[in-house]
Symmetry: none
Subunit: 222 residues, 2 copies
DNA sequence: GACGTATGAATGAATG
DNA sequence: CATTCATTCATACGTC
């Protein structure tokens, strides 16, 4: 959809300390802190190398103080950084969920072989069965099994479950209007979220810092 | 972790698992995942038709699992897909950007103070500097090059004497982030600290000056 | 081929 | 500590 005119290609690294002298007008989009390479290195070092995952407020302050040498940074940045890293790391590795394939969603559709833009397509779901049970997602839309991308159409329709109440299409900025069963205290629970980590990389002292172009860079192009 | 120079390869190379009959290539460039028509249909169906916008990790897994029939896909893809769709839609109907600029913001750049914050502590990661710990956290790792505050790679490995000084980017919450005795209280209690401290909320100085963007004007005004 | 747009991916910032 | 929001980066692609 609409994406805000993104401003790219600023400089090789980043720019936040900024205000140096007569440049880096500090884009307003720069409200968000971003660790400078050195800062990142230090943080990672602490986290991975030292296993500093639970820094105390004092330590956070100290770290922050030290990190200030490399750019503007506040305590909260450090705090959040650790929080996020921890959270993501944990939530990243946690696919230990029993794949209850039996009786879950059922993807039974495959029409509209045309473009896929807009919802104006024949999204006439609920053809074969509005389902409306409880349990899992139900992707039961109308349309017969048209073509299988690869022929494997696995019509594994079994029982449809649904629990998604009639949640509004647009939850506005208010809040999650729906009381979605997120906190369904199920055994095992252990939510596994996704975020960072699929990429990331080594932790420790080996940071893949690339010192690409030095002066008039722009060595690559499309 | 900036994704600036780390666009990784999510799945490792393979992108289409099965689809290879009539229409697979959505974005065959094995870089980032791209939903195959069937996948997209299903996802959209869930999102628009069912209003399924807040899938739980489990549901994501299920969806992903089923979507695999139509092509390579990972949990994170589903996760991101939903996240993005939600975000974009929200962003769409939220141009309520009040451009209120009332307020004489005074960016007092060029403050001075210099060594005010830079305690010239040796954070030399891997630098030659032994960084004599003064009872602080040991941030000694190993790092090749050094970076300038602005991120520019400055091979000053060994020592970097900078006095970047906080240098506020804009009149944001200039409260108790500096040498304030905020944590004078107990520490290590709970992680509930940090709440409302950096919440800014300028009582009315919602500076959103979005005019100093590339307007060919000396943006520094130091 | 540059440019604009659409969208996947990443992560900082919050909130509960 | 779990989950979500918001913003931005990066890139594929269509278009001029």
């Amino acid at each position: 959809m609409e994406q805000q005119t993104q401003q790219q290609i600023e400089d090789g690294g980043n720019n936040q300390a900024a205000g140096s002298s007569a440049n880096t007008p500090i884009r307003l989009t720069n409200n968000r802190w971003a660790p400078t390479p050195p800062q990142l290195r230090i943080l990672k070092g602490l986290y991975y190398d030292k296993g500093f995952k639970y820094p105390t407020p004092e330590q956070i302050q100290e770290i922050c103080l030290h990190l200030k040498q490399y750019g503007q940074i506040e305590d909260k940045n450090v705090f959040f950084w650790f929080q996020n890293l921890k959270a993501r790391e944990r939530q990243l590795m946690r696919p230990i969920r029993k794949v209850r394939v039996g009786g879950s969603l059922d993807l039974n559709f495959g029409s509209t072989s045309s473009t896929d833009d807009g919802r104006s397509i024949d999204l006439n779901f609920g053809s074969t069965g509005p389902t409306g049970d409880d349990g899992s997602i139900d992707l039961n839309f109308g349309s017969p099994v048209g073509y299988g991308v690869d022929g494997s159409i696995m019509e594994q329709r079994g029982e449809y479950h649904q629990e998604i109440e009639t949640l509004p299409l647009f939850p506005m900025h208010g809040e999650n209007v729906l009381g979605n069963p997120k906190t369904t205290s199920e055994e095992g629970s252990a939510y596994g979220w996704y975020s960072g980590g699929w990429d990331d990389n080594n932790g420790g002292s080996c940071i893949s810092l690339e010192l690409s172009l030095n002066s008039s860079g722009a060595a690559d192009m499309a």
